[in-house]
């Protein structure tokens, strides 16, 4: 029965084939030809149009001269003349290091204990395989200290913000960043492949202008605006200028123009605020208003590495997307233990922050009025710059002058350093300067002595 119906249907089909309309058969013929063309077409890349002939390519290859492996370097390159620190670091030996190298000597006890327990480092290429209780402990402590939901530890301070930014901001997103942002932020922005809009340093009017322009663009193309993410990246205390960002206005702008704020608190963590919680405490802003806080542990916590803290929703994303977290071994446990110890010290004596503020004010006042050098930075910033009041015209000349001052101060046993930049790589190269950092352990007499030495040397060199 089934075969009979099938055969009947087949006969009908064959009959229909004989009566097929011409256009249909023509189309089928065209399609068969199309199939044959497809089968025989070669694979090619879409934009592969090289405008050079083979001969031209050969010529170019012959002309090419390799650059020397070691480029010629002037003799006074800073990398060739460096100072050596011998002995345990303390505020007496290395003046330019940050506030709590001191704390390393105080933390020696607990560091030694964890060195005996865990060894020096955990070598592996993924953090998941090397994170142990010390790191988790440090993350919890940091989250509790900063009063956020979660924190994540990176093993290298530079990589912290340089991995945090590209984890959230991708191609097609827009980032508004300050011109004086530090090099780590610049590298993070470069890695993120987003559109970068620079605004003048600490100039909220300029930022608002850029945000307004962006808003007009968004209204022209609402579909595109719906898939674009907007970020504002600022530092709490700028490394390059020693100034504090105006956070209250930033938060207002954030809510008005719907952007997210990433705050980089490397210098302000453990310095500003009543308990050292950074610029949010300094201004009394709710920490939930800031979407991500990222900081170096290399400044205030006398350890290596960095951390990011914020809401769990935000920080958890970095556990798989933060390239510096995922694809790098974790912090050596003794450094994590040192950081925990430093946190303990910060929590137990909250009075040190007020002392630091006083000392900063003192040294600022003492260094004013040097003819030829001007102090760049706020009076409550422990890191500030001494720049030449009038530049000689060429950067090398300025650098050499400042180096003279530094060398002479070194001879009088005050260690200073110039702020170093990768001149070709920085987006907005700051003028050459001597960076001075104050720590809480220096006594007032020492500060006075240092200030007067710098004054004398500067007057001798610059006049």
């Amino acid at each position: 029965m089934a075969t009979a119906t099938e055969q009947w249907v087949l006969v009908e089909m064959v009959q229909a084939l004989y009566e097929a309309p011409a256009y249909h058969l023509i189309l089928e013929g065209i399609l068969i030809l199309w199939i044959i063309r497809l089968l025989f077409s070669k694979t090619y890349k879409l934009q592969e149009r090289s405008d050079l002939t083979v001969k031209e390519k050969e010529e170019l290859i012959e002309e090419w001269q390799p650059e020397p492996l070691v480029p010629p370097v002037p003799k006074d390159h800073p990398a060739l003349n460096y100072n050596i620190v011998s002995g345990p670091p303390s505020h007496k030996t290395v003046r330019e290091w940050k506030r709590i190298i001191i704390l390393v000597t105080l933390i020696k006890g607990s560091s030694l204990a964890s060195l005996k327990k865990y060894g020096v480092g955990l070598f592996n290429h993924l953090t998941f395989l090397t994170e142990i209780d010390v790191h988790l402990d440090l993350e919890e402590r940091l989250a509790k200290f900063m009063k956020t939901e979660e924190a994540i530890i990176y093993s290298y301070g530079f990589a912290t913000i340089a991995s945090a930014i590209p984890a959230y901001s991708k191609r097609g997103d827009i980032v508004f960043v300050d011109r004086a942002a530090c090099f780590a932020i610049q590298k993070g922005l470069q890695a993120s492949r987003s559109d970068i809009k620079l605004f003048k340093h600490n100039d909220m009017a300029d930022l608002e202008r850029l945000l307004k322009e962006q808003e007009i663009e968004d209204q022209k193309n609402p579909r595109k605006a719906r898939v674009t993410r907007r970020f504002i990246v600022v530092e709490g205390l700028y490394m390059n200028t020693g100034t504090i960002c105006p956070l209250p206005e930033l938060v207002k702008l954030k809510y008005k123009y719907k952007a997210r704020i990433f705050l980089e608190e490397s210098l302000s963590f453990g310095v500003l605020g009543e308990h050292g919680r950074g610029v949010t405490e300094h201004y009394g802003i709710n920490i939930d208003d800031i979407d991500l806080i990222s900081a170096n542990m290399e400044n205030a916590l006398a350890s290596i590495g960095g951390f990011c803290c914020g809401r769990s929703f935000v920080i958890d994303h970095q556990r798989l997307s933060g390239q510096g977290y995922c694809f790098s071994a974790s912090l050596p446990p003794l450094l994590a233990a040192a950081a925990i110890e430093a946190l303990n010290i910060m929590e137990e004596n909250p009075g040190i922050f007020a002392v630091l503020k006083e000392k900063c004010g003192q040294i600022h006042k003492a260094l004013q009025g040097i003819s030829g050098l001007k102090v760049v930075g706020e009076s409550l910033s422990p890191a500030f710059h001494l720049q030449l009041e009038e530049s000689t015209g060429s950067r090398e000349q300025d650098v050499r002058l400042l180096q003279e001052i530094v060398d002479q101060c070194m001879n009088r046993s005050i260690a200073l350093t110039q702020a170093r930049y990768l001149e070709k790589e920085e987006k907005c190269l700051p003028p050459p300067s001597i960076r001075v950092v104050v720590t809480v352990e220096q006594t007032e007499e020492e500060l006075e002595r240092a200030a007067s030495t710098i004054k004398e040397v500067a007057q001798a060199v610059l006049l």
């Binding site: 309309p21 249909h24 089928e28 199939i35 694979t43 890349k45 879409l46 579909r223």
Partner: protein, 146 residues
């Protein structure tokens, strides 16, 4: 690359259609739709549904369902444009272009009815045109651009 294999592929979407056994799976999936009754309507319906499904999955849905380490290069690209990183006329692209045509050629079963012909051809065109290299990245009337 196969499922569950460790790979260093930046965007696995580009290699999905090159995986072992996926062409066979595709053929079987379409074959499951082949009507058991040789009625022209069902045949046209299958053709249209298959073409609609390929249009949606290959030419409408953009980006990747997972995060890629290239900072979102393929966020605005459809799966067809992502195949083999934009290399044209690779074997999986040829396979996917030829299969709807083969299907239409078997319209022997529709008894060459004019209405069926129109519907089938229109549906075939809607699937063939976006596959041309000239249409790579083209968004007509700004539809589906962002």
């Amino acid at each position: 690359m196969n499922v569950g294999v460790a790979h260093s592929e930046v965007n696995p979407n580009t290699r999905v259609m090159n995986s072992r056994g996926i062409w066979l799976a595709y053929i079987i999936l379409v074959g499951l739709l082949i009507p058991f009754f040789s009625i022209p309507v069902v045949w046209t319906l299958t053709n249209v549904i298959h073409n609609l499904a390929t249009y949606v999955f290959l030419h409408t849905v953009k980006g990747t369902p997972f995060e890629t380490p290239d900072q979102g290069k393929a966020r605005l690209l459809t799966h067809w444009e992502q195949l083999d990183y934009g290399l044209q006329f690779t074997s999986s692209r040829k396979f996917l272009s030829i299969s709807p045509i083969v299907y239409l050629l078997a319209s022997f079963y529709t008894k060459y009815d004019a209405a069926h012909f129109l519907i089938n051809t229109a549906s075939l065109l809607s699937v063939l045109l976006p596959k041309l290299p000239q249409f790579h990245g083209v968004r007509v009337f700004g539809i589906n651009k962002y």
